[in-house]
Amino acid sequence: MERNENRNAAAAEEVFSGSVAADAACGAQPALRGTRGGRAKKRKWTSHSFLALFLALLPMIGFVLFSTAPLIISIVALFCDVTIDWKGIAFDWNAFDGFRMIFDDDFGMGTQFARGFSSVFWKSLGITLWLGSTQFVTLLIALGLSVLLATKLKGSKLFQVLFFIPHICSSVSVAFMWSWMFLGQPEGILNTIFGTAIRWINNPRTIPWTIIVATIWQAPAYGTVMFKAALANVEQSQYEAASLDGANSWQKFRYVTIPGIMPTIFYLLIAGIGAGLLMYDMAALIVPDPWGSTIGGQDHMALTLMRLVFYFNEHRGTDPVALSAASAVSWILFLLVAPVSVWLYARREKRMEG
């Protein structure tokens, strides 16, 4: 049996590298470029090559102007109070007040903000990780649904089309729909179904679940389509070979399907972790800030880090330290998201080469 498994794995690897060949083909077509003869070796700067370079670099120019430049400004803001008034914007060295704002609970007594945000920040970090982990559930649901759809039953096309619709719904309308479902009055839909009168969106214990349910309603749509496409690319002959070797359906799934769709799993993981940790829309729309000083719903139970950044940004006029704190939280978020993405990306690259 072990031998069979090895063979399956090796065969699957073969299919895998075959499907990736198209990806790898980019940038590797020496034959075509060779038609220019000896000139290809000694390239010279001509007006043509300048034009080509300019065209090639246009997206990078946009990236530098609108992604890198804000990054640099935010680094400055990390260490500076930012005052915005009619005269313009002023940056003043603030001796790490932005960091103290979110890490030191005693800080903030002298500023416009009533107190430091340390406890709020840690709670927010926990909530963000909790809500973000929904993405793993989403991925599993998407995988399950796509495997069922791939059995090619009658009507699976129709199901596929239906399952995709949540993806084209805006977060605003999905949040509205679920707020409507979770309406706190007795005539709310879930309260009618269960015969309860729970105020879902005001109760700290139920708040995260309202967001999780809405996410699970919407997010698997994308993964289902992606997995469906990936499953179709796994070669049928692999399954036949596995059958000949006496593999059961689970073994086929484990040793043929999973390796075959690994690139898609990696990609969806990267995208999902990004989307999960950077959640703003759904949390802010389903659980808006209540009146008073509580941000992110009762007990801050829907306060994702992105909402905290947004809150600081909104109060940039109240206190010059606000944007500094916003910058600090942004960088913490980046440090959470980036390493995971880079690690997954590197692993993926390695698999492709190996």
Binding site: D23, S49, A56, F164, S173, M226, V309, S341
Partner: protein, 299 residues
């Protein structure tokens, strides 16, 4: 004896197969129900007259369904007097130009860039592409709010400029995707066009752009759906007190201010907001699914 057992075995197999089929259908059915339930309640609420809605339980089937709420969207808008047009109509128009302008221009710019990377010669071409692509892979989403400070420095806040200008430069993702597409186009076609007297850029518009129409449509749908549905950008940058500048999603997120008293009109507004993309999707599902699936595939 043998002749008897074989059909029996077959029957058992078929039955087993059916059982698994029933389970699959049941799972798919439950998921469909879960997806359908909120949509159904939204639709029902949007045609329930206000008198019937105020019961102590949810009204599953209104006794006298009415389409008046859909008309009221355009007649009883709180902002109507101020901005002269229903907020949602204004929002739809704003969404169209704020989305279409960067998506279309950005696509052409990305196409030109992909053309340069795949078909034109300049020193360091491969290295530059590798660096550019690697840099664009860095997930910078965490900075989307703090970028406000930068646009404030530029004096672009309280306008749609931060939503439009960055998109005009295209994106490396699109470049990567189109580059793969262009590498399958034989060089001879381009040489022939050059002999016909087309310039470097002329070759792109006369040959490569038309050749890659399906790829462009896929990327267009990807960009348009994202733009139409985006919420945080408009919330950050558009003036919150001037309803005539709002995009559709921003207007929908403030729907309680627009129709404070009527839940059914609010539900009807949501249905109308969903309609354009859903209708488009129904007409060209294949393009949509391809566009979204392909648009997301990186590296």
């Amino acid at each position: 004896m043998q002749a008897k057992t074989i059909p029996a075995k077959r029957a058992v197999r078929r039955k087993k197969f059916r059982v698994s089929r029933v389970i699959i259908y049941a799972v798919l059915g439950i998921w469909t129900l879960f997806l359908f339930l909120p949509v159904y309640t939204l639709l029902v609420s949007s045609i329930t007259p206000a008198e019937e809605a105020s019961a102590s339980t949810f009204t599953w089937f209104p006794a006298h369904p009415t389409f008046q709420p859909y008309a009221d969207i355009f007649l009883h808008d709180n902002n109507l007097g101020k901005i002269g047009m229903p907020t949602l109509v204004y929002g739809f128009i704003n969404t169209l130009w704020i989305t279409l302008l960067p998506v279309v221009v950005g696509l052409i710019v990305s196409g030109l860039s992909a053309y340069a990377y795949s078909k034109l010669d300049f020193p360091g071409r491969k290295v530059i592409f590798k660096i550019a692509f690697a840099i664009s892979m860095i997930p910078l989403g965490a900075f989307s709010v703090i970028s406000f400070l930068y646009y404030d420095l530029l004096g672009w806040t309280e306008s749609a400029l931060p939503l439009i200008i960055p998109g005009l430069f295209g994106s490396m993702n699109t470049v990567f995707f189109l580059k793969m597409y262009y590498e399958t186009v034989p060089n001879e076609i381009l040489e022939a066009a050059k002999i016909d007297g087309k310039g470097t850029i002329g070759v792109f518009f006369s040959i490569l752009l038309p050749l890659a129409v399906p790829a462009f449509i896929a990327q267009f749908i990807f960009g348009f759906v994202g733009g139409y549905n985006s919420y945080m950008g408009p919330l950050l940058y558009l003036p919150q007190d001037d309803a005539s500048t709002w995009t559709l999603q921003l207007a929908l997120s403030k729907i309680v201010d627009i129709f404070p008293n009527d839940a059914n009109i609010r539900c009807a507004s949501m249905v109308l907001g969903l309609l354009p993309l859903v209708v488009l999707f129904c007409f060209c599902q294949k393009l949509f699914i391809e566009g979204i699936a392909v648009g997301g595939v990186k590296g």
